[in-house]
Symmetry: C2
Subunit: 258 residues, 2 copies
């Protein structure tokens, strides 16, 4: 298929190259900053770099928009596309309706459930791609395109995608923050920052193999009041961390009672 990519950031970078390698043709790469578009386009033989959102002369079966969530509505409003083109965004948190202003053959969502950095290679075959379309044709063309790069393609509507995003905030954003707090506590104690890494890796791998609630360990689930009290004492200079500690301890104990 002929694909145009709007955006030249981390998601665009990985998607464009995976799609090209899978035999699709990238016709153009857009970025607000032409140099950024060119940096990606140069890796995609035949792709033009552009800083214009007027694609009425650019042949594309599908245009994928991979811009920051906050820029999505604005980009959608300014975009001009050929009438037979399907347009999809790649965001986990935005509904498909944010694209409704585009005069296209259909709009949709093409959401790779992964975090990308330009320099870190990703095995796209293992990345789930969640598809939604406003027409049967849009849905099926987006699904076909996704299947050229991933073996894990599913249909998920905007409401469910929002619930997935919420689950990801707990599993990834909040988890990352707790790992950051832990790193700070190690630094305060003058301990090496990687001392807990084998334990963290084992915890994550156990939580993948079982329901995490069934393999919960630590003072909260044992209701070890002495240790809990000592930990709160150690956190006495940081009421914010004390409050997080109390709250998560309580939450673990509520599950324990179930």
């Amino acid at each position: 298929m002929n694909i145009t990519i709007v955006g030249a950031g981390n998601v665009a970078w990985h998607l464009a190259q995976a799609l090209q390698e899978a035999g699709n043709t990238i016709t153009a790469v857009y970025s607000r900053t032409l140099a950024n578009a060119a940096e990606l386009a140069i890796r995609l033989p035949g792709a033009a770099a552009t800083d214009s959102l007027n694609f009425s002369n650019t042949p594309a079966d599908i245009i994928l928009i991979a811009v920051p969530d906050g820029a999505l509505a604005d980009v959608a409003e300014r975009m001009k596309v050929q009438p037979q083109t399907i347009v999809a965004h790649t965001s986990g948190s935005q509904p498909v309706s944010v694209l409704q202003t585009i005069a296209a053959a259909g709009v949709g969502v093409f959401y790779p459930v992964q975090t990308f950095s330009k320099r870190v290679p990703v095995n796209m075959q293992q990345v789930p791609i969640l598809i939604e379309g406003t027409t049967n044709d849009a849905t099926s063309r987006l699904q076909q395109l996704a299947q050229t790069i991933s073996s894990k393609v599913g249909l998920v509507n905007s409401e469910k995608r929002k619930q997935l995003h919420l689950a990801a905030v707990f599993a990834c954003n909040f988890t990352n923050h707790l790992l950051g707090i832990s790193r700070e506590l190690l630094a305060q104690a003058g301990l090496p920052s990687d001392l807990l890494q084998p334990l963290i890796n084992e915890t994550i791998s156990k939580a993948a193999a079982h329901h995490p609630f069934t393999v919960q360990t630590g003072p909260a689930v044992r209701n070890d009041q002495n240790v809990i009290h000592e930990h709160l004492q150690l956190l006495r200079d940081s009421p914010e961390l004390q409050e997080i500690y109390r709250q998560l301890t309580r939450s673990i104990q509520q599950n324990r009672k179930l």
Copy 2:
């Protein structure tokens, strides 16, 4: 060295076998339940199984106690050992002083920073083992013993070990709980429980390679009030999860301002 193991649970199971494989001799395995001691001892040629804490006739350079934290003080009080023996516990959360009632040549701590399950093999060489001793001799003998099974042996006193344990509660116990919440949210949405696994793995691996605070993503760090509000709406039937969401969002935003 001649080693006696008190306990036959997950930690005892892995330590005893690793120590034996490294050329040490396990002279005895204790468990409150003789059959449990026997189940481990049978895997250790020459080891006796016992349900008695009287080791005054059991030759041992070092006795390692690997029992639940709550049982430690009681076991220590009831133990009888030969006067030249060193006794150490394997707990991350307990001070060395819990062993002070034992009439031994010295007491200490031999703490492997890892979570163990009998059925899951562990590469002990990569497991940090943290040593503390009440005498120079105890410290150096425990350190030597640890070095027979791990390449990551360090000296850490009880105060620092307590801080490490606190950091581990954030990085592992709390993280596991958030992964459990995320799993429940996926189930509520009728989505597959492994849908976020590639994203979780990438998040953890990024958090290991960088300080997690510098690679934080998601609505909190972007201060995306629309998404935050929608997520709190999705959690409206669970005030507890709403409160965790608010608290961690606030905490992420406070770090953002630094």
